[in-house]
């Protein structure tokens, strides 16, 4: 058949869709839904203006040399490419520093954003913050190196068993667990779905044998044992390092120009995050600030004051690099037991609140005063922190239906195990796997207040934090690039860092597993400021 030329008389002069009716007038805040599908948020009513800015940008680019353009690609810092209008403006600013941006789409941000050359990162635009994230309804994700045959069978029976558990049919569940043990014998349980499968079979069988309502399903470890597992997990894979690294960068930027700074760490653990920040502050142009660190951790039951021990070590390090440093430990078994007065925040300090995989523990059943997470977010806001850093597992393990939680965690943890397989030597791996196993067990076996691993995805945290009076501080292309470079230190090539509307995620292949976001408290309306 010969060529079929397109009949140009079919196209309307505006080259729009074949309907001859003009599109219905959009409500003022409506996003262009086609651009949204492509990952860009532009209000329909702003299309013309954004187009003009793009035309202007092109004119400016044409006048610049390729080397200059390449340089701004290399050196400048960019934020949130989804907000197309502000992205275009930031390019214009880079190419032509004398001309100001149009301001469309981006907030005013005077002094409240990051100071790294490319314009405000503080977004005050309520429509841009519209939490109806286009991808919000895209619930469950699957990724994974699914191997076939026996592994698929294994997953299939795991699901059927979980369904039986959800229905309360424990005798069927028990039979299926026997099946599963058999399958585990045939699959390669040294890696991939076989390895993680055995942990899920174990978790299911615990749940079947000791129903969560009756007995204790998961034995508490001693603080020492917890620390060992944590340390191996820290070494075996980059997730915690990414969290610490990204948080420290954001905190460093938030503390720029501040002389008295106070970091509140919601889970001090071994304080692994802080030496790097102390050293970075030591090297700060203009000299280090006075650094206070308040570390929250569980009370020691074995007579050791582990919080104090860590504090002393960090103090020693700070002394060695000439950073004035003060440490305070706050012992609390739960974050919602912490009262703000325990933190002794002074109004003159710049405060950073650092929460690495802690906030989800507050999503359990609430007391008479309301959900724990709301109470805690409220007092955080009262501290008026310059930055609240939140890193969380990027998955929904807090769904009300057991089967949904089970399914989602199966995929999440099998992806995580897969990443471990690819890059870790055997000795470290086993204990790191045990660390993860405890999380799995908590998600699958526990209920009520015992179930603390209530992970929720970034989409939900955005809603929650915005609702609690926080505004996003965007993490930019510099943090992104440094995170990617950090990953090259790991031999496995499957790790991927992604930018998601001002937040960064680290994942394995195309599946994000950890999400890092930064926030700033919006001052409460009733607060009276007596001075600047």
């Amino acid at each position: 058949m010969g060529p079929t030329p397109y009949n140009s008389s079919n196209s309307s002069s505006s080259a729009c869709s074949s309907s001859t009716k003009p599109p219905p007038p959009q409500p003022p805040d409506q996003m262009d839904h086609l651009l949204a599908g492509a990952g860009y948020k532009v209000r329909s009513n702003d299309l013309t203006q954004v187009a003009e800015r793009l035309e202007h940008l092109e004119t400016v680019m044409v006048k610049s040399s390729p080397v200059d353009i390449s340089d701004i690609g290399n050196d400048a810092v960019y934020y949130n490419p989804t907000d197309l209008a502000s992205w275009v403006d930031s390019l214009l600013t880079e190419l032509n520093p004398n001309v100001s941006g149009s301001g469309s789409g981006s907030g005013s941000g005077s002094g409240s954003g990051f100071v790294s050359g490319s314009g405000p990162a503080y977004v005050s635009d309520p429509v841009m913050n519209d939490m109806n994230n286009v991808y919000g309804e895209f619930g469950q994700q699957v990724v994974t190196p699914i191997e076939e045959d026996v592994s698929i069978r294994l997953v299939h029976v795991l699901m059927t068993c979980a369904e039986a558990v959800q229905r309360g049919d424990m005798s069927l569940a028990g039979l299926l667990i026997d099946d599963l043990q058999g399958l585990l014998g045939r699959v390669n349980s040294g890696c991939g779905i076989g390895k993680v499968g055995s942990f899920f079979v174990d978790a299911l069988s615990r749940r079947v044998v000791n129903s969560p309502q009756n007995g204790v399903v998961q034995v508490d470890l001693s603080a020492y044992e917890n620390e060992i597992l944590y340390h191996h997990y820290y070494e075996a894979c980059p997730y915690l390092k990414f969290a610490h690294f990204t948080a420290n960068q954001a905190i460093l930027e938030a503390f720029d120009g501040q002389d008295c700074v106070h970091v509140i760490d919601f889970n001090l653990m071994q304080g692994l995050q802080w030496p790097a920040l102390i050293q970075a502050l030591a090297l700060r142009p203009g000299g280090p600030p006075l650094l206070r660190l308040t570390g929250i951790g569980p009370p020691s039951l074995d007579g050791r004051d582990s919080l104090r021990e860590i504090g002393l070590k960090l103090a020693e390090l700070a002394r060695s690099v000439n950073v004035r440093f003060a440490f305070r430990g706050v012992a609390a078994s739960r974050l919602d037991d912490v009262k703000p007065w325990m933190l002794q925040v002074s109004p003159k300090e710049a405060v950073a609140v650092n929460s690495i995989m802690q906030l989800h523990k507050l999503l359990g059943p609430g007391g008479p005063r309301g959900p724990p997470v709301d109470l805690v977010l409220d007092w955080i806001r009262d501290l008026n922190p310059r930055i609240l850093m939140v890193v969380e597992q990027e998955s929904n393990h807090n769904q009300p239906e057991f089967l949904d939680r089970f399914t989602e965690s199966l995929y999440y943890y099998s992806t995580m195990f897969d990443s471990l397989d690819a890059c870790t030597a055997q000795p470290e791996k086993t204990l790191a796997e045990l660390y993860i196993q405890r999380e799995i067990c908590n998600v699958v076996c526990c209920e009520g207040s015992a179930r603390v691993e209530r992970h929720e995805p970034l989409v939900r945290w955005r809603e929650r934090l915005t609702g609690a009076g926080f505004a996003p501080l965007h993490l930019g292309s510099n943090a992104f690039k440094q995170a990617r470079m950090l990953l090259t230190l790991f031999s496995a090539e499957g790790y991927s860092v992604e930018e998601n509307e001002g937040c960064l995620t680290l994942g394995w292949h195309s599946r994000p597993l950890i999400a890092a976001s930064a926030w700033q408290a919006i001052p409460k309306p009733s607060v009276v400021t007596t001075g600047r």
């Binding site: 010969g2 079929t4 030329p5 397109y6 080259a15 729009c16 869709s17 074949s18 086609l34 651009l35 599908g37 492509a38 990952g39 860009y40 532009v42 299309l47 013309t48 187009a51 793009l54 035309e55 092109e58 004119t59 044409v62 080397v67 353009i69 390449s70 690609g73 960019y78 490419p81 197309l84 992205w87 991808y135 895209f138 619930g139 469950q140 994700q141 699957v142 990724v143 994974t144 190196p145 699914i146 076939e148 698929i152 069978r153 299939h156 699901m159 369904e163 089967l403 399914t407 292309s477 992104f480 690039k481 990617r484 470079m485 090539e493 860092v497 992604e498 930018e499 195309s510 599946r511």
Partner: protein, 352 residues
């Protein structure tokens, strides 16, 4: 030159809807930052800027997707799109989707499997880029096909022949999955791609000729071909519709082996160093050419080369279309092409 740039900007704006113009212009200008004059590529910034989306086991518009690593040694990932069965619209329990992986797609129906290679001039984009995720989802839904979108390795870090090798790996993988089989217990494989992806389609099909693997058809959307000489369309349309000769040259230099020119057969399959496909059992081809694409002369020459070799080729020339017209469903060209593709992936009347 300022005057003619004004004209360029006005011209391209007249022929596409405003949101398309914004999308394509944004790519054009952002990509300028990424191509360094010394031939290196700012991959960090490219990945930062690329808008990506996760796979979706809950059907969206009747199609669900999941990612699979199809080759661990190269970390080759593919995103698979499958139409959800009508009665499970609105929430397929995951266990069901795993059932689907155990069994063939259908015992009785002919379900095409389209192996898709995204565009990006060999350097940009990924299988999980938003624009390509949406395109594949639409293809799967409209054609009632399984779509396998291949996340091939990109230039300049992985020049020729990495992308072709990955395409070949994907083809072999698809061909050997029992669960991608349908009618007559066979996988009914089509290759499709846009821009560089279209180029990959040709070369994978070429490689398959000597193998046992049967490809039922090739779909090339604005395929990326070129050559050393400057053609009339290149000169006439340079800089006018989002693409420049200069950027085309940069991408070829990044993809082709060191020291090679654009008459290398990867770039110019029917050029002075090309091979004839006369007498070769090559799949039927659907070649879509946009009338405002500056490389159309090379694309038309490709279609012509197939024709002269006696191959079955349908050329769809869309006079007023620009590159990327298929990324947003807001124009006639999009719908025309989707219909053509849908018809193209039907079984032959005398299905062997």
């Amino acid at each position: 030159m300022a005057g003619s740039d004004q004209i360029n900007v006005c011209e391209s704006k007249k022929v596409v809807p405003l949101n398309t113009w914004i999308l394509m212009s944004n790519f054009k200008l952002a990509y300028n930052l990424l191509r360094r004059p010394d031939g290196t590529f700012n991959r960090h910034l490219a990945e930062f800027l690329d808008r990506k989306v996760p796979a979706n086991v809950n059907p969206v518009d009747g199609v669900f997707s999941f990612d699979i690593v199809i080759d661990r040694s190269t970390n080759l990932l593919s995103r698979i799109y499958r139409p959800a069965a009508p009665e499970t619209e609105g929430g397929v329990p995951l266990s069901t989707s795993f059932n689907l992986l155990e069994k063939p797609v259908s015992k009785s129906d002919f379900v095409p499997v389209i192996i898709f290679f995204h565009g990006g001039s060999f350097a940009h984009s990924s299988a999980n880029s938003a624009i390509y995720d949406i395109l594949c989802r639409r293809l799967a839904g409209l054609c009632k096909a399984v779509v396998v979108s291949v996340n091939y390795r990109r230039a300049p870090e992985h020049p020729y022949p990495s992308a072709y090798d990955d395409g070949w790996t994907a083809l072999e993988w698809v061909n050997s999955r029992p669960w991608l089989q349908s009618k007559d217990s066979k996988a009914h494989i089509f290759l499709a791609g846009d821009s560089s992806g279209g180029n990959i389609v040709h070369h994978v099909a070429l490689r398959a000729v000597k193998s046992q693997i049967r490809i039922l058809g090739n779909i090339l959307l604005n395929p990326m071909f070129g050559g050393q000489t400057r053609t009339e369309s290149e000169t006439r349309l340079d800089t006018k519709y989002f693409v420049t000769i200069q950027d085309r040259d940069w991408y070829w230099k990044a993809f082709l082996p060191e020291g090679e020119d654009r008459d290398h057969p990867a770039c110019n399959p029917f050029g002075p160093r090309g091979i004839s496909l006369e007498g070769v059992k090559f799949p039927k081809s659907l070649v879509v050419v946009a009338g405002l694409d500056l490389i159309q002369d090379w694309q038309l020459a490709y279609a012509d080369g197939l024709k002269r070799a006696g191959q079955d080729v349908k050329l769809l020339f869309l006079e007023k279309a620009t590159i990327g017209f298929y990324l947003l469903p807001n124009n006639d060209h999009f719908h025309i092409v989707m219909d053509e593709i849908s018809n193209f992936v039907r079984p032959m009347p005398d299905c062997e």
